[in-house]
């Protein structure tokens, strides 16, 4: 019986001390534990929740734009969901809700809480694993008739594979359709324009979808099969 109790206690202790690690990426990749994050200055975002009554819910964490520099911040979850938000939007890496640790079913132990004046609740990414500071001029953005405006750093081409691949920056190529699917283009979209520093080239979206060319990063985002080099943005119209 004593042996059983000891094993039971050990499980509880191990359960309580289970650590959540995440990564902050700028020029380098740094790994942090949740305990380390709690040593940073705390910030708060209040969310208005409509239930039987309207109440304010307090989320506590660390303001993401105190952790690095850039003009866009990408947030990537354990299940590889990606949110791109401007650097100056109030976002916290939240680890407490109403003073308590965030439950797993609510996206804990680490999620992002976003200023409600910016966008929709869908930005509140759960199970946060990566915070990446991006300079938009060195990224590939996708916008226009899409559900999600996204910015891909060269490293983010790995977001279609695994967290480990992003950290290791293992792959430098992905099919264009995967990028389009991540942004979710609207049904009415018909054209796709590739924006380079000096030029814009427009194609029929459905033809390009059928070809599904490969996007490769080699000192710039290129699509060799379409003779496109140094693409900085993809506009869906």
């Amino acid at each position: 019986m004593k042996k059983f109790l000891s094993i039971f206690l050990l499980f509880i202790i191990l359960g309580c001390t289970e650590e959540w690690n995440f990564y902050i990426i700028d020029d380098n990749v740094k790994e942090y534990s949740l305990s380390e994050l709690k040593n940073f200055e705390t910030d708060v975002i209040y969310e208005t929740v409509v239930g039987k009554e309207i109440r304010k819910v307090k989320w506590e964490g660390v303001a993401s734009n105190t952790l690095g520099e850039g003009d866009i911040i990408n947030y990537i979850s354990e299940d590889l969901y990606l949110v791109s938000a401007p650097y100056n939007v109030d976002v916290i890496l939240a680890y407490k809700k109403e003073g308590e640790n965030i439950l797993k079913e609510e996206g804990g132990p680490l999620k992002i809480a976003v200023d409600p004046n910016y966008g929709c609740k869908c930005n509140w990414l759960k199970y946060l694993k990566i915070v990446e500071f991006i300079n938009s001029k060195n990224s590939l953005s996708i916008y226009g008739e899409v559900t999600n405006i996204l910015y891909f750093s060269p490293r983010d081409l790995n977001v279609f594979y695994s967290i480990e691949d992003i950290i290791e920056n293992r792959y430098n190529r992905v099919s264009l359709n995967k990028i389009l699917d991540k942004a979710i283009y609207k049904d009415k979209a018909e054209k796709i324009t590739f924006v380079t520093e000096n030029d814009r080239k427009t194609f029929d979206l459905h033809e390009i979808k059928n070809i599904d060319p490969e996007v490769i990063y080699e000192e710039g985002f290129n699509i060799p099969s379409l003779n496109l080099e140094n693409i900085i943005a993809i506009k869906i119209e």
Binding site: V50, G51, N88, S136, K137
Partner: protein, 262 residues
């Protein structure tokens, strides 16, 4: 005894109906901007409605199909005899979205989902449904519809990934910056929102080259994009005035209405 029970039952039903009626009247959407008014759930239910199926596409790509009943937004606008350029929808929980009227042809103010009143959990009693737009724009707990045009807002558009339409009160949502500078030979202080911050929020396109400011009386001034973007002291005040420290007074445009990135 039977009579008493039937009496109590009838009274309860009557009270129930009255209370439901009160609830419908109490829930009000404020119409603001180019027209002013209040739209209750009762008002909405009295308008010609449509029943339709629509697929909600979540930002994860998940699709959910439901049947809806509601009133076309264009019918609501007709009631107020107004044709705005843009419409901002505001929810009780603080979320908002702004869209061009031309993208709202399939927008409905819905009050029934799958044959029942829309529950609070699903964003009721009135929820915005736009059948050809992503689910994240189907705002729940709608409380205000702002009708916007050049008459009451500044529009930031062109080579931007998001079109911003800002009223005087929307400018309050941005960090306010104060500067002291020379204007017509005097030292003066000004407070407003940095144009750089607005361009960042609008997410300017990477190949932006020029920026054009247009006032209400169609006066336009054009600059190199980088020149304006890199100067964080260039402000827009709540009165929609362009503050251009170091520039001649002719560039300090009043009654600004449009910023176009070219």
């Amino acid at each position: 005894m039977k009579r008493i029970i039937v009496g109590i039952l009838a009274l309860s039903l009557l009270l129930g109906c009255i209370s439901e009626q009160k609830e419908e009247v109490k829930y009000t959407i404020n119409i603001t901007g180019l027209a002013e008014g209040k739209l209750t759930l009762t008002d909405l239910k009295a308008m010609p409605s449509e029943e339709f199926n629509a697929i909600l596409v979540k930002s994860t790509g998940t699709e959910i199909e439901n049947s809806w009943k509601g009133v076309l937004l264009s019918n609501v606008l007709q009631k107020y005899n107004v044709t705005p350029d843009y419409v901002t929808f505001v929810a009780i929980d603080g979320y908002m979205s702004t869209m061009e009227l031309s993208d709202l042809g399939n927008a409905y103010l819905c009050y029934e989902m799958d044959g029942k009143d829309i529950s609070q959990e699903d964003g009721g009693p009135i929820r915005l449904v736009i059948t050809d737009q992503p689910g994240k724009l189907w705002l729940k707990f709608l409380k205000e519809i702002k009708l916007l045009g050049k008459e009451n807002s500044i529009i930031i558009k062109g080579k931007t990934k998001v079109t911003l339409v800002l009223t005087e009160e929307d400018l309050d949502l941005f960090d306010q910056k104060s500067i002291t500078t020379e204007y017509k030979g005097e030292t003066k202080s000004f407070e407003g929102v940095s144009v750089t911050a607005l361009l960042n929020r609008a997410r300017y396109e990477e190949d932006a080259e020029k920026i054009k400011f247009t006032t209400a009386d169609e006066y336009t001034i054009e600059f190199d994009f980088d020149e304006i973007f890199s100067n964080e002291d260039i402000l827009i005040t709540k009165e929609f005035r362009l503050i251009m420290p170091g520039y001649e007074s002719k560039y300090w445009a009043k009654d600004l209405r449009e910023i176009e990135v070219l």
